[in-house]
Amino acid sequence: MTNYKKYFSFFRLQFNMELQYRVAAVSGVVTQILWGFMECLAFRAFQESDFSAYPMAFSATVSYIWLREAFLAAFTTWNADGEIFDSIMNGGIAYELCRPVSVYNMWFSKTAAGRIARAGLRCIPLLAIAFILPRPFRLMLPAGPQHFILFAITLLLGLGVTVAFCMFTYILAFFTISPQGLRMIFTSMVDFLSGAIMPLPFMPERVRKIVELLPFAGMFDVPLRIYSGDLAGADMLRGIGLQCFWLIVLVVCGKALCRAAERRIVVQGG
């Protein structure tokens, strides 16, 4: 029980910290609304250019875009926790190793906390605005109650996958001298493969089939398409199954790697 308390205190701290920067949060929301709106317009232009080639309902695309904007702070690999990186780079990690918690669990909860706090603050005004926009740019209600429940579950699973992947980028920093460039390549790859740039159905058939199997699809594509009912039936079950599978694989591998990294530090003396 006390263990959970320990992790919960990270959440509280993070949430308070985010509150400090509320003006930044407001301006971020404004930015994201404009951004999402431009994107909706672009997709509509494509739809008007060739109706038959459009791979999903337009309203599903709109929902996808607004939900992505609402939960962007939770899922983007861009804003991986800078503090953790710094502590690895400048040796502050020594402190972390002194604390009576597993490094992996602590970083995992710290990262998850930061993301939930950030997204939690931003998603409410964003969703509120998206629900009252004029059609066809309005965010629709979920396709049904069961869709909404599954959306919530897969969203959490997706967050787990995202954080588990971020852990990899932290741990990699142990093994490289200059993680900056590597991180950039990583994140840009993930952005594309997770469906942050465009929903996966817009990709060519063959590319899409491969991308859907990768862990990244579970970050954005699966939950956001379940919401609108675009992903349903057997495809949906497969998506959720893959999410669970990757979450387990990433966490297990991450923990093993983390232990190796810790040993390395102990051996090398930091």
Partner: protein, 274 residues
């Protein structure tokens, strides 16, 4: 040198240019201290920007065209905007990162030097690492020219140059405007990014695909059509109005406004303290 001695105005400009290049040479030497990290960053940025191209490629191979623009035409438009932005970030890095310059008190040091703040900012914060983005934009531009059916004439060549110069100045102007806001508040300044990063991202498609209302906003409030939509029409032979190719000159007016805002901000800084 002889003219410089006779004319103090000329001497001032001359020493300014000399100082600017001295700054750049020192920035280069600084950067080259970390060669490995530098090249990784350049490579990272290079690869990063392929995201955008791949996105455009997938969309256009699915739909064939968007509002009549083919893949090559979009690519041309995209590469020009991308290059504008990369050049502006490279040259105007001092404005783009002004928030941290204020925060760390570096601006005080700039005010302690007997030169204009703008010159010092431009010189000391030249961002050579943006070269990755520029290279990538050039590659895309060349490919865009190869696949797009532009009927090249002297006038069209000049238009491309004007689009590049005008676009770079327009983005730099926005960075300057953002820096001017920074004098009043550091919080929430990120919202202004939609005007620059947003324009770079969404400006990859010719602006008319976003509809009439957006076109109007991007003409009269944020003058992006001056360096994108209008000259592009002339470039792609979609209009007989040759003067569309001269629209980038309009950016000069915008720059005057940005400069006035900067001056106003500077005065506020001096009277309000840091």
């Amino acid at each position: 040198m002889i003219i410089a001695e006779r004319n103090p105005m000329f001497a001032k400009i001359n020493s300014g240019i000399k100082l600017y290049f001295h700054y750049i040479s020192i920035v280069l030497r600084s950067t080259m201290q970390y060669k490995a990290s530098f090249f990784l960053m350049v490579a990272g940025r290079f690869i990063l920007s392929f995201n955008g191209i791949l996105g455009v490629y997938f969309m256009l191979s699915r739909f064939g065209q968007v509002k009549g623009y083919t893949f090559g035409e979009v690519l041309l438009c995209f590469s020009i905007i991308q290059m504008d932005f990369a050049l502006a970030e490279c040259i105007g890095g001092g404005f783009a990162t002004f928030t941290s310059i204020i925060r760390q008190g570096e601006f005080d040091r700039i005010l302690l030097r007997p030169h204009g703040a703008i010159l010092q900012l431009l010189g000391s914060k030249f961002r050579i690492d943006r070269i990755g983005l520029i290279l990538q934009a050039i590659a895309m531009f060349v490919y865009g020219i190869a696949v797009s059916p532009v009927d090249w004439t002297f006038g069209r060549g000049m238009t491309v140059i004007l689009m590049l110069v005008g676009g770079t100045l327009l983005f730099t102007g926005f960075f300057l405007l953002r820096a001017a806001f920074t004098f009043f508040t550091i919080e929430g300044i990120e919202a202004v990014n939609i005007l620059t990063y947003g324009a770079k991202e969404h400006g990859k498609y010719p602006l008319d695909i976003y509809g009439k209302r957006m076109m109007r906003i991007c003409t009269y409030i944020l003058p992006y059509t001056l360096i994108q939509y209008y000259p592009l029409q002339y470039l792609l032979g979609r209009t007989q109005r040759w003067y569309y190719g001269l629209y980038p000159f309009g950016v000069a007016g915008f720059l005057v406004i940005c400069y006035a805002a900067w001056r106003f901000g500077m005065r506020h800084y001096q009277s309000a303290g840091s």
